[in-house]
Amino acid sequence: MLLIGFLLLQVVPTDPATVLAGPTATPAEVQALRESMGLDKPVWLQFVLYLGRVLQFDLGRSMISNTAVIEEIGNTIGPTIELMLASLVWAVPLGILLGTLAAVRRGQLLDRVIMAFSVAGVSMPIFWFGLILIQYVGTALELLPFQGRGGPLWSLDGLRHIVLPAVTLGGVFVGPVARMTRTALLDVLGADYVRTARAKGVAEGSVVMHHALRNAMIPIVTLVGLQIGFLLGGAVVTETMFAWPGVGRMAVGAITSADFPLAQGAILILAVSFIAINILVDVLYAMLDPRIARR
């Protein structure tokens, strides 16, 4: 991941030294700058040096603001986590609820409606959904703000500001979660132990919640975990669209302005969070499945 991020920025046709030196610089000045940045060294050596610095948490400095990259990340990671949590906190339960309803009412009208919605949700581009929200809720009705972060989450303004981005980012997640829940639950509802539960005289609601869904959570968590990359990608788009001061928007800004250290740092942190979330999923998985927890 580190390598991919690094290489991606290598193939960008812009030369960071040229950008940094500015349009008025002479070729000699650019060359001197390139040497001082180590850009004249072979690519593999640059990577090794970069790796060494990363391990010491030295991600370099932003070429534009000259603040330490690590500091920039520290400032933006909070809002990103905030946005992700605010999206997941409603999207995952809603997705599970809809998927459960669809599975229980399999083949009936409710199932078809829910699945139609979730297909629409899956195939809808996130920016399109966000734009619609901005257009109608933000601009036309002026119900909610759609630019930036209003303040900490516990303040009313903070809450008002996060609604639209969180609805946008979470909105594209509901459909996949619903589909996965439906599939996993249908699978589990045919299991022998569900029949055992029914044979015990357990009421159908409890059969679904206590016996089936509890087991279906294992594949659901796995599948949701696999979608985390998708969610991170969505966060980048959402943050840019809503001027949300997170890592994603920072990454986009850094890339468009060819601020290489900052872009590299942002990609790095996105990669690290991807790994961190996957570890979290594994922990959750072990908690849900006694066959793993007890090993």
Partner: protein, 352 residues
């Protein structure tokens, strides 16, 4: 028949049931009359059970045999009220249990009977227990549900049940998850779940088929012992005539959704009155030696969507006459307590 498994165990011993009540009671505990279960699909209606009648008396063990797909499990599930609907449907007949017709009961009325007065154990011990709940919780669930007792009380009874099915160190095992137990142990847990509310009828659908031979013998031994102590009636579904010989009082032989023959175990083995039963007995597996399937009779089970007219066994039957191809034989008494659905019964008139 009152028994109290909640009472503290006598020193080192197992919880004890009072011996069964009157085992010779001749009133029917379960009377299935002309039961028909249909499954609907795009290809049409499949009559998985087509006019089955059988009776189980109090404390009696009735064996049900027949080759794969003849409708044994479907009959059992119908009694449990567990036919999946759709695609299934109880199309006709009565299921009289202690005088009440289960086929007419609502879902919630059936729930109060299931796992309480009638319970069931299944063929697949490896997958029949919920992997994410402890065995203790799974036993206690039914107890709390039907006996309206609290968690602590139910747990205590669950330990008693584990003891009853002879699981060593039950106080420890109760917190185990199913994957920590062997197949035989899991089937013991299934039996514990089934017996937890002291049912009047236990339906055992091939409870030993999936187990090792030695474990099979242990489980059968356990079931027999528990039956003798509790007086629970058992519907024992099996492929294994050895199990029938070991455990059952009477036998119903099913063929293609219908009853072919019904008799006491001795009569059935000594004096079979249906050609299909003759075929089965020709392939009787030796008890506890090897799992063998019964169906070594010429021909195959008829196609469910194009049943032969007349007797369904006629294409495979060495005794078949013209009438068998035209008219379905009713189940009729050939000897006292011995009924056969064959035009040619009694059969001995035709052999030699």
């Amino acid at each position: 028949m009152t028994f109290d498994i909640a009472s503290p165990p006598r020193q080192g011993g197992e919880a004890r049931y009072d011996p069964a009540g009157d085992m010779t009671d001749s009133t029917g505990l379960l009377e299935v009359r002309d039961l028909a279960v249909h499954f609907h699909s795009a290809e049409g209606t499949f009559k998985a059970v087509d006019g089955v009648s059988l009776t189980i008396r109090k404390g009696e063990t009735l064996g049900i045999v027949g080759e794969s797909g003849c409708g044994k499990s479907v009959t059992a599930l119908a009694v449990m009220g567990l036919i999946p609907r759709p695609p299934g449907e109880i199309a006709a007949g009565q299921i009289l249990f202690e005088g009440e017709d289960l086929a007419r009961k609502s879902a919630s009325e059936l729930r109060q009977i299931r796992g309480n007065r009638i319970s069931m154990i299944f063929q697949e011990p490896m997958t029949s227990l919920n992997p994410v709940h402890t065995v203790g919780d799974q036993i206690a669930e039914g107890i709390m549900l039907h006996q309206k007792v609290g968690k602590a009380e139910a747990r205590m009874r669950a330990v008693e049940m584990l003891k009853l099915v002879r699981i060593p160190a039950p106080e420890r095992r109760i917190d185990d998850y199913p994957h920590q137990l062997s197949g035989g142990m899991r089937q013991r847990v299934m039996i514990a779940i089934a017996l937890a509310c002291q049912p009047r009828l236990l339906i055992a659908d091939e409870p030993t088929t999936a187990l090792d031979v030695t474990i099979q013998a242990q489980i059968l031994e356990l079931m027999r012992d528990l039956r003798d102590r509790t007086g629970t009636a058992i519907m024992m579904i099996t492929h294994d005539l050895g199990v029938i010989a070991e455990l059952a009082h009477r036998v119903v032989v099913m063929y293609s959704g219908r009853v072919a023959e019904e008799a006491s175990v001795a009569d059935l083995f000594n004096d079979p009155q249906h050609p299909y039963t003759l075929g089965l007995l020709g392939s009787i597996p030796k008890l506890h030696v090897e799992e063998e399937r019964l169906a070594t009779i010429e021909g195959t089970v008829p196609n469910p969507y194009s049943m032969p007219t007349g007797c369904r066994f006629n294409p495979r039957c060495p005794f078949a006459i013209e009438r068998c191809r035209v008219e379905a034989p009713p189940l009729r008494e050939v000897r006292p307590g011995h009924r056969s659905a064959c035009w040619r019964a009694p059969l001995e008139e035709h052999v030699l």
